[in-house]
């Protein structure tokens, strides 16, 4: 029977008619600057700085007046260790958005990481004096304090985390900043805080693992890396860190223990 009526021209159903009339759109959906910016922020929160930088650039391609994307670009250059470029780019962005507090804070971070404490202090002062307030400004302030070995760094970090716009990721960034400035005890404190706030995020555990490793707590670090891999299978950095930890010899382990005692 089926073969007999298969060639008949029947009236199409209503659903098929709609499908036939709608043009098929191929390729990527149209993305706005906000979409690119959100994607960049997500990449940043997974510690993927290179893709994040590209996404911030795309966001700016769509909307050049998006100050947060300029700040994001500078921050990504800082995270990638390209301080000279970060400084250059922040200066360029500041030509467009004069006295923007977050841009000044990002510049302060670039300067302080490059070792230029005088410029960092000047930028940080200007950032704090600029209208408004943000976690980034206080974080930059705290890093300048850390670099100058002034005792107020912890208070500035606390102020950054107490800001209205502060998130769990700011605690992660604070921990990473402390690690950069060789204060793993303080870093561990903030990394634990971040992991407690967002235990479901793999990157939190990766940073926690880094802090524990720096403190000489190898077994804790191993657990944190395992947790990170479990939560976020795409984080290759955690796998590498765990593998490096396993490859360590007895002498390195002993040295780590001793370092841990003194750093605590």
């Amino acid at each position: 029977m089926a073969g007999r009526f298969s060639n008949l021209e029947l009236k199409p159903s209503a659903a098929e008619a709609v499908t036939a009339q709608t043009p098929v759109v191929k390729g990527e959906p149209v993305r706005t600057a906000a979409d690119h910016f959100d994607a960049a922020e997500q990449a940043y929160r997974r510690g993927q700085f290179e893709p994040a930088l590209r996404l911030y650039t795309r966001a700016l391609g769509e909307n050049r007046a998006m100050v947060a994307a300029w700040v994001g670009q500078v921050m990504m250059l800082v995270e990638l260790g390209e301080y000279r470029e970060a400084r250059l780019w922040s200066d360029k962005a500041l030509e467009l958005f004069k006295s923007n507090g977050d841009l000044l804070a990002a510049k302060a971070l670039a300067c302080v990481r490059a070792g230029d404490r005088a410029s960092a202090a000047a930028s940080s002062d200007a950032a704090v004096a600029a209208p408004g307030s943000s976690a980034l400004r206080w974080r930059a302030r705290a890093e300048v304090m850390l670099a100058e070995s002034k005792g107020l760094a912890k208070e500035c970090f606390a102020k950054a985390l107490a800001e209205a716009n502060a998130t769990w990721f700011d605690a992660v960034e604070v921990a990473r900043a402390c690690l950069f400035h060789n204060t793993p005890g303080l870093a561990l404190e903030f990394a634990q805080m971040a992991a407690a706030k967002r235990a479901s995020n793999g990157y939190c555990w990766l940073v926690l693992g880094r802090c524990q490793e720096a403190m000489g707590l190898a077994s804790h670090a191993r657990f944190s890396y395992a947790r990170c891999i479990e939560l976020d299978t795409g984080l290759d950095e955690a796998r590498r860190a765990a593998a490096e930890l396993d490859r360590r010899g007895v002498i390195s382990k002993v040295i780590d223990r001793i370092r841990g005692v003194f750093r605590a």
Partner: protein, 341 residues
């Protein structure tokens, strides 16, 4: 159209903010950030440049100096940090942010230093020394150029001279004094060549601060010898290089040309650079502030063999105050650079 800086609502189409003059039209702004070079060596060089620049700036920012000059002084055109940093040519420019000019001046100055070091003891050295001081003076003049530009030609020339003389007196004379306290460079000339030493050799000798309290036997020293004149045999006074045969209060005997101290032959490495000929017999006694050095390198025209003992006892005893330093290295010619055997 909202200003991103001050949030002022501007009329659509405005290129700059009416309130804060911030740019509103970003259509031609480049958004691709600069990236570090992929070559590790380039990154390392840039990092080193940054470390130097930042180091100079950090050191300068910690120094405090009252603002120099007032009224018509050109020094009011520079901050104290810039002036302090100008102790090294180009440092002031680096602090001010004129990085390219600062680096250029610093490189030129370093190039003159290298050239001066390479030409130590030669006739060209003064030219490169002049270059070192000239570059330094130029760097400070360029730092103060805005103030100097407002002055007349005579006033500018006068300030140029003042700056140059100040640099020489305050920086280079003390630096030279310190350096010569550590090391000195001397060209040896006017002597009979030996296996170890040739006329025109440039030697590095220890400075006045490195002079030992008591000279040792066998030390190769640079000293001043007094001349002698016995009528038919004479030798000109001057500077020479040779080995100390006996220290203060000691005696040395020459037996058939071989030096002996307390009856023991001196080993070959302690002999004078030009050994005495066989058949030479004499005894030399050093006073409490004298050493025995035979200036075999000095230009001497001597008489008969019999007078050598008398001559040597006259000029072989050298006052310890006339021994200026120990010979450390031969600097020139470069083909024979190194220690002297």
């Amino acid at each position: 159209m909202e200003c991103p800086s001050c949030n002022f609502q501007n009329t659509p189409g405005m290129k700059t903010c009416l309130r804060c003059c911030t740019r509103l039209d970003f259509s031609d702004v480049q958004v691709e950030p600069p990236r570090a070079s992929g070559v590790a060596a380039v990154r390392a060089v840039r990092r080193a440049q940054d470390v130097v620049d930042i180091g100079v700036r950090n050191v300068a920012s910690r120094m405090t100096l009252p603002r120099m000059g007032s009224g018509s002084s050109p020094f009011r055109g520079a901050t104290s940090a810039e002036l302090w940093a100008s102790l090294i040519p180009g440092g002031g420019q680096l602090v001010r942010g004129e990085r390219r000019l600062g680096r250029g001046l610093l490189l030129a100055w370093l190039a003159f230093i290298v050239l001066a070091a390479a030409s130590l003891g030669t006739d060209l050295q003064w030219l490169f020394n002049l270059g070192i001081m000239g570059t330094h003076s130029l760097a400070i003049n360029l730092l103060l150029r805005r103030e100097l530009a407002n002055m007349g030609l005579r006033q500018r020339a006068a300030w140029g001279i003042v700056i140059y003389v100040s640099i020489v007196v305050c920086v280079y004379v003390p630096a030279a004094w310190i350096l010569t306290g550590l090391f000195q460079v001397r060209q040896i000339d006017g002597f009979t060549p030996t296996r170890q030493m040739q006329p025109g050799d440039v030697l590095l000798i220890s400075g006045r601060w490195l002079t030992p309290e008591r000279w040792k036997r066998g030390d190769l020293v640079y000293f001043r010898h007094s001349g002698f004149n016995f009528g038919h045999a004479w030798g000109s006074a001057g500077y020479a290089v040779d080995r100390i045969l006996a220290g203060p209060g000691e005696s040395v005997m020459f037996v058939d040309g071989v030096p002996q101290v307390k009856g023991v032959d001196l080993p070959g490495e302690m002999w004078p650079l030009r050994p005495m000929r066989p058949g030479f017999n004499t005894a030399l006694h050093a006073g409490t502030d004298e050493v025995i050095v035979l200036p075999s390198l000095a230009r001497m025209v001597t008489g008969g063999n019999g007078e050598m003992g008398t001559i040597m006892s006259t000029i072989g005893r050298v006052d310890t105050g006339h021994v200026y330093g120990k010979v450390l290295y031969r600097l020139r010619p470069l083909s024979r650079f190194g220690s002297i055997e």
